[in-house]
């Protein structure tokens, strides 16, 4: 009996995080900060767009945060974090040089190979641009593999816009169509105003049967944007979204993220609209 009781090394615990060092912090908006991190073990990370990490500040807790940088084999990661509670608040208090715990990547993500040869439509609302940016950067890095690339982005006000440098770049590129709108402009705003669905009229015609759309943002924005996409003739299984749920493990165990019989932390957070419809409790 005794030999059966040898303990496995505790290092195999899936709860033990790696050490991530914050290399850069930038204040994007009043509530959103950008973080660039690398791994203290020098090992790097391999991930797909749409995947996320569990980020720890010990004594406070852990929170799932999307990877928003270009996917693939990377030395480090980028994240955009909104201050909304305990863990995100603690993360906002950290400066470059500080370390945090990182577990992951978790989730299914999406392999852009599946969209090769297609028109791409990205629709990002608010903080949804963070996960969406990983997809966009991947598409632009491998621009030749796709046909038309269209990016629509909506924020509440001009001061809520995230990733200003990227927005400028995307606007200047002539191999992608970029449109941005704000719900309410200010005195300096000369761009579009109105909800994100108004941008659908501004974009060039896509070939609906040959288009993959990524609609990532708050549930209410997703619902309206999906209607537009369907009206354009896009297929339900070619429209993807990212679902947010409470998460406590990332391992398909704690049950918090469960939608019917699906664990969002493992089988999501990226779902096609067809899957969301089938789940019924998705949106």
């Amino acid at each position: 009996m005794t030999q059966a009781m040898a303990q496995p090394p505790a290092e195999t615990s899936p709860y033990l995080p790696r050490v991530g060092r914050i290399d850069e912090v930038r204040q994007f908006t009043e509530t959103d900060k950008y973080f660039r991190l690398s791994f203290a073990d020098g090992q790097g990370i391999r991930f797909l767009p749409g995947q996320f990490l569990e980020v720890s500040v010990f004594g406070i807790g852990e929170a799932p945060i999307s990877l928003c940088s270009a996917p693939g084999d990377q030395a480090g990661v980028e994240m955009c974090i909104r201050r909304i509670g305990d863990v995100t608040g603690a993360l906002h208090n950290l400066e470059a040089g500080a370390t945090v715990g990182l577990r992951g990547p978790f989730g299914n993500g999406f392999d852009m190979d599946e969209a090769a040869g297609k028109d791409l439509l990205f629709v990002a609302g608010g903080l949804g641009l963070a996960p969406c940016r990983g997809f966009i950067l991947d598409a632009l890095n491998r621009r030749d593999e796709f046909r038309r690339v269209t990016i629509l982005y909506g924020a509440r006000t001009p001061s809520d816009l995230l990733f200003a440098d990227d927005l400028k770049q995307w606007d200047q590129r002539d191999d992608c169509d970029f449109h941005v709108t704000v719900d309410r402009g200010d005195e300096n705003w000369t761009g579009n105003t109105g909800v994100i669905t108004t941008l659908f009229k501004k974009m060039p015609k896509l070939e609906p049967a040959n288009t993959v759309a990524f609609i990532i943002g708050p549930p209410i924005m997703f619902k309206f944007a999906v209607l537009e996409a369907l009206a354009m003739g896009l297929r339900k299984n070619q429209i993807y979204c990212s679902l947010e749920r409470r998460m406590k493990c990332g391992l398909g165990k704690c049950g918090h993220c469960q939608i019917r019989n699906v664990y969002v932390c493992q089988e999501g957070p990226i779902f096609s609209y067809a899957e969301v419809m089938r789940l019924r409790e998705g949106i």
């Binding site: 009996m1 496995p8 615990s13 709860y15 033990l16 995080p17 050490v19 004594g59 165990k253 469960q258």
Partner: protein, 352 residues
């Protein structure tokens, strides 16, 4: 491996020997109920109640404790964080077949990739002595339907059947075989013993009547067909969302994770504790959105986990029919009754 006999006069010696192998948890009286408790010393052997009907909590608590430390930290930064796994050698004595199935389901759930090192380490350090039952403990049990009146293969190392002045001991695993060899309390079973064991089974078969109006193989589909039924709303009207039902369930395993600071406000532990999908905040995210806000949607989620989701995921029953959730529900919500009613609900939903 051929069965053996443990004469009851050797029972105390057997338990004393088990206590040399690790801590022993056994059923004891906790008036007016029973509970699995760790025996502190040899005097405690007298407290063991092998005639118990059903315990309040299932023995799952020895694989998935209600609280456990996952990590140890000494400050907010992640350096020097240590993983902790408490897997003490443990013997679970007197586990009924439905609870053996419950243990099997728990292990199956935590074995799924990515596997949970703590639960699996504890399972590895745990020996299980099963105990047969010949009848239901109450009207809320339905093991005959759930296929859990008999033990699952390979969970109990030894499986005991009370045949009067002795236990008929079936050997279920290699470890059980070793135990039989190492402990000198056993003798080989003879023809009389085999006959007594057969008679036990006949009594058992006569006692365990099915209680669902359909074969359990249809349970997942019947649930799916009654997804939109008003039954869930009707039942939920009585539910207090207290989470007692999930706490006493041998196959519930949802948990929460919290950081617990020491008095220095820097070092501490990251703990995991039982949680319940019936609690209102279970699926609420920062900012206030709640993805199962209605009591009915939470109650239905529990019923679906029990009758469908866990089975579909692990291949093991998500409900073993032990009746604990129903017996302990302050609102008298009965899972057996709900499972009985969905047959009619599904037919009605289908007709419209």
């Amino acid at each position: 491996m051929l069965p053996h006999i443990l004469p009851k006069e050797n029972f105390d010696d057997f338990v004393a020997w088990l206590m040399t192998q690790g801590r022993v948890a056994a059923p004891v009286a906790k008036a007016p109920n029973f509970s699995f408790d760790v025996l502190v010393d040899k005097d405690d052997i007298a407290r063991i109640r092998m005639d118990y009907d059903v315990t309040i909590l299932p023995p799952k608590k020895y694989l998935l404790p209600s609280y456990e430390t996952l990590l140890d930290f000494n400050g907010p930064a992640p350096e020097n964080v240590r993983a902790e796994i408490d897997a003490r050698p443990t013997v679970l004595l007197g586990v009924h077949p439905y609870d053996l199935h419950g243990l099997q389901t728990t292990v199956a759930a935590f074995s799924q990739d990515p596997a949970d090192a703590s639960v699996l380490a504890r399972r590895k350090a745990t020996r299980v002595i099963g105990l047969n039952i010949a009848s239901y403990a109450n009207d809320e049990q339905f093991m005959a339907d759930m296929g859990t009146v008999d033990p699952p293969d390979g969970v109990a190392d030894l499986f005991l059947t009370d045949i009067g002045d002795r236990y008929f001991v079936e050997i279920g695993t290699e470890a059980g075989s070793e135990m039989r060899r190492a402990c000198d309390c056993f003798r080989p079973a003879g023809p009389e013993d085999h006959r007594a064991r057969q008679e036990y089974d006949e009594r058992k078969a006569a006692n365990f009547k099915k209680r669902l109006p359909y074969h359990v193989r249809y349970l997942p589909e019947l649930l799916e067909a009654s997804y939109d039924s008003l039954l869930w709303d009707a039942v939920a009207r009585r539910c207090f969302s207290c989470g007692t039902c999930t706490n006493v369930c041998p196959t519930c395993y949802c948990f929460d994770v919290h950081d617990n600071l020491n008095i220095d406000a820097a070092s501490g532990v990251r703990e995991r504790m039982w949680d319940s999908c019936q609690l209102e905040v279970f699926a609420e995210v920062a900012g206030g959105e709640n993805f199962r806000e209605q009591t009915a949607s939470r109650l239905r989620h529990r019923m679906f986990r029990k009758g469908k989701y866990i089975l579909e995921r692990t291949g093991k029953p998500g409900c073993v029919g032990c009746g604990r959730c129903s017996v302990h529900c302050v609102a008298n919500i009965s899972i057996l009754e709900a499972f009985q009613q969905i047959a009619g609900e599904a037919a009605e939903m289908h007709a419209t």
